[in-house]
Amino acid sequence: MKTLLIFIPILPLIGFLLNGIFGRSFPKKLVHRIAITTTGISFLLAVITFFKFLSLDVESLVFNYFTWIKAGDFVANFGFLLDPLSMVMVLVVTGVGFLIHVYSIGYMWNDIGYNRFFAYLNLFMFSMLILVLANNYLLLFVGWEGVGLCSYLLIGFYFHKKSASDAGKKAFIVNRIGDFGFVVGLMLIFFTFRTIDFEKVFSEIVNRGYGVEAGWGVLTVIGVLLFIGATGKSAQIPLYVWLPDAMEGPTPVSALIHAATMVTAGVYMITRSNAIYSRAPHALFIVGLIGSITALFAATIGIFQRDIKRVLAYSTVSQLGYMFTALGVLAFSAGIFHLMTHAFFKALLFLGSGSVILALHHEQDMQNMGGLKKYLPITCWTMWAATLAISGIPIFAGFFSKDEILWRSYSTPVKGHMIFYILGTVAALITALYMFRLMFLTFHGKTRLPEDKLSHVHESPKSMTGVLVVLAILSTIGGFVGMPGWTKIPNIFENFLEPVFKFMPHKGIVHAVEGHSAGNELLVTLVSILVAGIGALIAYIIYLKKEVTPEKEENLGLIYKLIFNKYYVDEIYNFLVVQPIKWFSTNVLWKIVDVSIIDGIVNGYAYLTEGLSVGVSKIQNGFIRSYVGWIALGGIGILYYILINFIK
């Protein structure tokens, strides 16, 4: 099992190396065969591991491959932690990853940089698997940085487009802020517990008898710092701005990295750290609040976006907000459950939109779509499955997970849970609204596509539609593993994840929920179904009955403008953060830090012809003297400092 497990991440790495180094000389078929075989086998291995893990009937397994860093008292192993949580993540990552690889063959076939694309994608798989399998925070950080790097590379994949490389840059810089929080949190964990192994840290917390912190204790600080990291990676307020722009990347990338897997890393990380968060109510409150506000905020932006992928991007931000809301009310397994179902239906939505975009020759504006049902039947129906799932219509996967989150935030007695519930429910209404709007504008009603273009529209190749169908099935039935309590059917998913939360101080809270009457739970469920229905109905009336097109929406005036421009957040950030930094670097850095003389010299190759002596005397005029002056000044400063401070 130990060797089996290591091959799950290693195989994509091999694929990356082969395609990255030799890919240019490989024929296209060989490139995707390598990429798909490696990820396919690694998915297979994940499934085998899963069944072995089930048969072993243990809580968790730790495999240490070798001692990675050992310095002083500090030890970090290169090791994997296999427990239900990492098992779920590995299955989702390899499974969805494999499907998206297959889909990419058709989607990327005509692109230059075919090998580059698959190489990056495989590298991403490797990093993501390291992230979820790591048995310590440092190794998790390895994956964390790795997926980030792949993400920037893939966002800027079409680098000849300026918007694409700008988007890559934006993602990169925004994530720096998040990473700062994460690294500082990591250092603080190391500082406090002198170890960074998950299990050791958590058992240390238990052994040292950390209780639930009333104020701002060390666990709360760690929790907040790690959450800052999560806001960067998982696109939460205030660092969400990079994700919508990340849609400049190829659509399979949006599906895999910016919807299904990488952006959920923050959710995974916080769930992994449940021992810390469950003792830090203030940190937890921040997580829940940010999550629920993001869920609503991003959903509203989604209403008026015209770019089909941007709607989905804001929808992703919003859904991630749901997951954080779940974490905020200690419903960790509900968060992971939503993570899984979301991976299915959001990947499907993105891939479906990719299929539309490809059919329309890279047209992404919904103004120029409509009535495509006839031409893209499979895409249309599979996307409907996903839409019903994300809107929380019963039977579909998203219904169960979203309902679970809403029920938990209604019933768990933590600080602010009712706020989370209300925000979440309103967001659910808007989710249904913008998703149905998207479907109606794209596939139904009269087509707004010019005749000549319409004739070229045809369904995507089988490799793509096949993937859509598989994902549609998953989006439909994927929720049955987590049945709500009132059905009296055991929640398989939650029971499976149970061992992950063994370090929590009071499982009591989670189970207290079950004390609530089943009637209440049913009520919450009915409310959320009702809310989704209202959202869908509004969309039906506006976009199908009244045939409002994106252009007509503009008549709404101020509100439309505000929302369409994403509340001007980008502009505000630009004004408050970017411009001051630019000013600082041009006016302060150039002039003070970089005492450059070379600018003068580069222009002055003429000196060469005039003879060396003139050039040299020119140089001597000033700069060396001033350098000596600086050095002398520094030296004197040091000496005086010593004199003042150390001589009595």
Partner: protein, 488 residues
Amino acid sequence: MSTKSLIYVSFLPEIILGAFALLIMCVDPFLKKREKVFSTIISIFAIVVAFISNLLFLSRDASLITFNGMIYFDFYSNLLRGLFLLIGFLVSLFAFKYIEREDLFPGEFSSLLLFALIGMDLMAISANLIMTFIGLEILSMSTYILAGFKRKNLKSNESALKYFILGGVSSAILLYGISFLYGFTGTLSYRGIANVLSKGSGFIGSPLLFLGMGMILVGFGFKIALAPFHVWTPDVYEGAPTVVSGFMSVGPKAAGYAALLRIVFQIFPFTLPLWRELFVYSAILTMLIGNLGAIIQKNVKRLLGYSSIAHAGYMLLGIIAADVMGMSGIIFYLFAYLFMNLGAFGVISIFEGKGEKFVTIDDYRGIGFKYPQLTFPLSIFLLSLAGIPLTAGFVGKFVLFGAALMENHMGLVLIAILASLISVYYYLKVIVYMFMKSPIIEGEEIEVRYSGVALFSVLVCAFFVLYLGLFPSYLLNLSKEAVVFLGI
């Protein structure tokens, strides 16, 4: 082993280097132009032989002082010498074709490089301040000449002149400081001074002693390029021949740290609080200036110049921590830094082409997938410099920061993390330009020509950057073993 032969064994690598340097100078004038490469080959051979002799005569258990109290024969000496010889080896490999391309003189280059190595060795193994100073001067003198090795290039001349004048000033300050110490204690040997100082605590408060210490700090601060003595670095690195810049960014820095560690821990162990406080301020300033300065650079050599300032700052964290973890972190980081920085300079020296024409970031547009055999290693080096996981630079930084953290330097570590996050920006910028920007005029990427030797050395560097990133334990253990001899 008799004491007499021990004396020579402790100094054997330097003797070998010196002998071969003289041999090169004797042979070189008789070589025809085509055969000049022979000098470089001799120097590589000399370095290999010196390395083997260093390996044969290890002193892993005991710390001996030989040559009338001039030289330490201990594992710290062995390890650092190994580091310097590696630097020399890789620089020679990079210089192999570079010298030919730029039409320079292999004989002079090789012998000066060997002499510089002797100087570096002396700094690390010296047990006496006068020896340390002579080592420093040999190293500096050789690098002054190497910096101006392109005689006809104005920038190279300027670089040499600046380095020479400023280096002279800093050497004078250092010597002045040493003379104060001598006046105060009446001896120059590390152990002797430490003995005198440890006898009476009354000495500690004396201004004379602190003046001496402060001036020594200035002198070494200049060599290592700590703020505020860093001003020369970007100009000198930019102007010097690229291979020499590479050497200057790792060689003198490593030697400076090697000597500084010995001085701080073997002469002044009990004045550590004072040093520490100074180092904390200097480290903050160095890291911020280095990283902020690098952000705005367009010239890759200058960019790496600023980045090398920043790295000197990171390494200071190890001294500030002043425990085994921190010290071994410094030595580990020196190794990591050697491979990543020298590798980066090596690739730059290949990309720039004859006459060092292509050294701005804009020149790197679009070459990413045209020359993957070079751009991939360069990306690895830059990522490692940035401290991205699974590279040597990450492990080094983590150990250094972790050590400082363990000693409760919370604020300092925060700044260090912030600084290294800033640094990711400009390192990645180079990668972005290579892989994600099209050339200004479509299809006009720079033409790159490289030799097998250069490619080989680039790949060696890349291999070690990754190897040390994945399996750093062995080297960390060696470093730990070495720093024990510093008496921490």
